[in-house]
Amino acid sequence: MSLKQVSSFLATPVITGLICGSLFAADPQIGESSLGFESDVLPVLKDKCVRCHNPNDLKAELDLTTGQGLFNGGESGQVVEIGKPEESILFEMLHEGLMPPEGEGTALTKDELHTIERWIKAGSPFDDGTRPGDFLDRVQVNQHDIEPIMLIRCTSCHGRRVRKGELDLRTRESMLKGGKSGPAIVLGKPEESLLLQRIHAGEMPPRDQLIIAGVLPITSSEVDRIARWISLGAPTVDIEPDVATTEPDRMVTDDDRQHWSFQPLPASIDIPKPNRAGNHPIDAFVSKELRRNNLRFNPEADSTTLLRRVCFDLTGLPPTVEMADSFIESSDAKDYERMIDRLLDSPRYGERWGRFWLDAAGYADSEGKRSSDPVRKYAYRYRDYVIRAFNEDKPYSRFLLEQIAGDELADYSDPNQLTPEVIDNLVATGFLRMAPDGTGSDVVNFVPERMEVVADEIDILGSTVLGLTLKCARCHSHKYDPIPHRDYYRLVAVFQGAFDIHDWLKPTSAAGQSDGHFEARSLDVAFPWQRQAVAEHNKNFQPQIDRENERLKSAKAAAQKEKFDKELARLPEKLRDEVRTVVNTAEMDRNDAQKLLFAEYESRLTLTDDELRNTPAYKKVLDEVEAAIKSLKADMQEVPQIRALWDRGEPSPTYIFRRGDHRQPGRLVGPGVPAVLTDGRTPFHPVEPWSGSGKTGRRLAFARWLVEHDHPLTARVMVNRIWKHHFGRGIVASLDNFGQLGDRPTHPELLDWLAREFVTNGWSVKHMHRLILTSRTWRQSSAVSDDHLTVDPDNKWISRMSLRRMEAEEVRDTLIFIADALDETPFGKPDAVNVANDGLVTAVPRNDKYRRSIYLRQRRKEMPTFLETFDLPQMNPTCQNRANSNVAQQALYLLNNRMVRDLVSRFAAGLSAAATDSDSRIQHLYLSALSRQPTEEELVSGRRTLAELEGQWAEYYSEQSEDEKKDPALEAFRVYCHAILNSAGFLYID
């Protein structure tokens, strides 16, 4: 081995063998000794690769300008497997034509490719005789190679929170300081270092503590790395975390920012000149595109259609009969606007529009991941927060600030200073707590599972708020969008103050799991008056519970006495008194003889637990007491906790994880935002939110950046979402992907104009509704013409309104509503569901009424069947766009399901009671279910059908016994109603 250049790096290469060994399968002497890196390979790399892979740009964390850089590898780990071109990423990327990327330089020639293949096969020789293994050896070991190992293997018990043996292994200093048994490391002497001795002895990490601590055994290569570091004297280097600076970012260029959605939102957008369509700005933009495609607006929908459409759109429920009456008669255009205001003011509005946000946030009432699927007791507070925010028209900017950094907006440490707003801030951060989280169970509370939770939250945030798919960048730089691997981990760092994979909190403290080692991620913040009220309320319960327990105690004593007396009676008479005396004598007062006697007869005279349970009298009391205590406890109150996310002030360092693997840490990074969304010269400045807060302020800085008035994505993504829920299709069809692979906007100027309008009008969502709903564009009829089918089959140009099926909640809520079974109590704990053996999950009614579907419990594994059948998604982790399926199960459900049948009966009974003749019954039915009057034709046909049905029922009942008989007319009407509620006219909105 030539040590010529190595010597300055490695005075004593103590443990060098360990890395190289197996890599030298191919002997460099065999094969083509004429090839050399400097003369043959480097020129090719310089020509084709180093424009991006140089020490400054470091694309994919890779520097190909030197042999050392080549062997340092990149974000995907080693790029050259010596002797094995087919396993070398370098060769694979070139060979597959993946590099250089399209438009970023010319492909390698066949000869060049062949040269690289032969060079790798030949063992990667260097002209100057350096062996490639030397480069691997030379990879310096410093504290940043060691600390990540400590974090995943040791600091769970020897770190910030827990410090077993008074030992902290987080830093070089703390290792030198050591714990109870002395310093953990001795510089230059791995064999004398306690740390390694304990590891080598197999004592650390302790095998029987692994699962409780969420740690997996240390690997031999990690041990070797530690040994090498110690032997080198535990060298440290001064590396600042990689963050954005005022220097231009080299990894993301201005070229990368050319994509339409990465451009800052313009300050103003010109509205196309007024045109025949009228003066509404939306119409101006839309009609411009229509004209260009030789299309024109459809005629306006008639007032009955419009009424039904607007009611479902804003509230998810049909108009009441009174509304229909008054609006349809009216000819005043202002009445339409007044109705919009009325609907927007209705509390039902938030129950519909909040649901869209909950889908995107991935709302669920349980943790998921494990089959136990623990219930999230307080998730509902976030649901209520969202509904309220929509009803109050909370500015979207504020809505985001609270959800992303509510804990950093205001001090919540002093209970006496709390305000409802401060509580809301904390509840809002539930947004970042919605992803499935199985880490409450010890067996899946290892670092990779925690990373999964963080990654899911970043995914939700990315697709919901930014309209970007960040997922790919977790393992490597994004293939299509200019999001480097580095930027993903800068985002991880933003969250690390709260979500620290090395300082974890469990989602809820689950029964039977390691108590104490991990605290629960739940905030106990409440007004003092709340606590008092709860204490006051509960005051009277404890004595009652005590009384019940007393009852049980006496029942036990009675059973015991009975057994004692019975057994005593069986003893020889002369013994009885003596035994009785012994039993009545306190243990310490017994003499030796008594002790003996007691030992002899104790078991015979005492009831075993089994016997006790089988004593009928006792069993009866036990059942009563248990039931009583259960019901008392159910009536007791508790101070609700907050399922929040909060910054804890001391994040562990964040490293890039090569290939997304936490065992392959790369560079140290600091918090930051995706560089492509900035000018690349603006540092990210988190500041402590208020003095003494003990918080990093990272998420607050991030949230403030999101709601800047010219942010490229925030407003565009949200107005597009609003648009989609009004029109069935976004201006950008891919709601969650505004990147390269996403759809392009059909009306880019309109999107920008809407976004700017949104920001200018205080980020008011209701303002956007008013704007859209008053447009001609939205008021068009949904009729499809031949022209539409040829020129605009997908309704891309909005040449008509799109027909849509009711969404899951709309179907269910409407059936409940028209059957007069709707309980409009808002908020609070989710309504219970009943899970039948056959898998049917149904709501449990209260006083024969049901609340709206948004209040039904949504445990991931027990989703209400009704809603699921109509495409309510399972959140894993989020739903950006619900499927709209059309399957036989829906027909079966609406025809045969018991709850539906029950609702239909109530609906029919209500209508029958209100009107006695069949004509007015039919009219009422049409008004309630379809929000319109029947046509003359429908009336005639309905009358005939009812008569036929009635005849059949009468015939049927004539053969039934007296108590089976029902009114044939009512039965006929019920069947008729059931058919109407299965019809397309009911389920589809024009």
């Binding site: 197999g202 095998r207 692994l210 699962i211 997996l216 089959s371 199985g438 067996v443 798919t469 997922k471 790919c472 969008d481 989609k724 029109f727 069935g728 299709r729 069809a733 992907n737 692979l741 759809d743 949904s782 009729a783 499809v784 539409h788 089918l789 089959p793 997908d794 309704n795 799109s802 027909l803 849509r804 099926r805 056959d838 049917l840 069947t865 499927a883 709209n884 399926s885 059309n886 399957v887 036989a888 199960q889 027909a891 459900y893 045969n896 399901n897 049948r901 046909s941 059908t945 049905l949 059949q952 029922w953 015939e955 049927y956 069947v975 299965n982 397309a984 006219g985 589809y988 024009d990």
Partner: protein, 483 residues
Amino acid sequence: MTVQHHHHLDRRSFFDHVGSGLYGAALAQLLGGDLIASESSHNRPVHNLLPQQPVHEPKAKAMIHLFMNGGPSQMDLFDPKPELTKRHGEPYFKKIAGEVEFIDSVGALKRSPYKFRQHGECGMSVSEVMPHLAQQVDDIALIRSMHTTTFAHEHALYKIHSGRMLSAYPSLGSWVTYGLGSENQNLPAYVVLDDPGGLPVNGVENWQAGFLPPVYQGTRFRSTGSPVLDLEPGTEKPEKVVKLQRDLLNRLDNFHRKQRPGQPVLDARIANYELAARMQLEANDTLDLSQESEETLEMYGINDPKTESYGRRCLIARRLVESGVRFVQLYIRSQIWDSHRNLASGLRSACEFTDKPVAALLKDLRQRGLIDSTLVVWGGEFGRLPIAQLAGSNSEKTSGRDHNKNAMVTWFAGAGIKGGTQYGTTDELGFAAEENKVSVQDWHATILHLLGLDHEKLLLERLGLEEKLTHVFEAHIIDGILS
């Protein structure tokens, strides 16, 4: 790379093709089909269950997956370990700590309570608790060297079903029906026969379609009563009333549709109501075991309360495959194979529950010639440890075995399989797979291969990623078991 995909039927040409024969040709297209064809989802392909062309000549047309949830113990059923018997009682925990879930109840090495004998021409060793299967060993290819990546039920179940340790990824059956469609348009393509006694761990997630369209999700058939939820009207209605109601609905919908030309989704939904009616007939028919001979019922053990439940499902599985269902998956209530304690008696009763029906299924498929076109796969989500898990006392009788991800056992039978094969080995104690190791993705790739699919080509593009059942993991077809 070519994407193996469905006809990206343009919605309009689709309905042009259907024409006016709403209840005729349209049905064939729509049955069971999910018609994502609303205006709002312009660019999504229409997903249906029409038969698809495999990428290569398939060995098997259908598959029955006998899923043994809970983790059957390999060293007590198929992988005898004399060394384990010899070293019974020796402490071993320290060597495998970190691989054990319940560290509070670890015991020493534990021998199998059962005797093994060699069977068939191939001389395969099978435990005494599987006497019926022992008669069929020349038809099966046994793999002793399979392993997985986690010892927690939920995650191991996700892994074996979807290739990932996470929830929300499409299951094997969903991928298969996505790739192949169905031969019978009146029945679901992917049928799950779960235990009337309760759902397995992970519940319905085991057969979910994940990000594949919901039409590829497994449909649960109950093995008694009405097979599909809400298939039957709950109350009795005179036949004539039912007919009147159906006619009324048709009339309403046709009237509605005529006023709205050019709205294909309305056509589709009318056909769906017709499908609901046909499904009612055919689904009920497959469950009608009265069409089977007394000998057949006896062979499956349907007349014996011990085997009735699983026997019924095995027989229904055969009937479904016979009717052209592509993928049938059988589950067992809770986890009868999860032998944490009382292994000696518990494992025996798990075998009593399944052994006879499983053997009967193989025999029956052979007798009917279905074995040449049907693949049968048996196995669970992981294996078990060679050490004992103690239940309170140190008794051998009450002790069991904890989960083990390093070795598990599975077998294949039927189309394309070299019967009598014994593939792969474990170490002398049965703790870890050693020779010819088979990973979960190898297992997946092999199944897809036998069904005429290619794990590298069965793709779905999503969020910029090409999603595959085998993900980015290396996967090899297990050539050693193929005929």
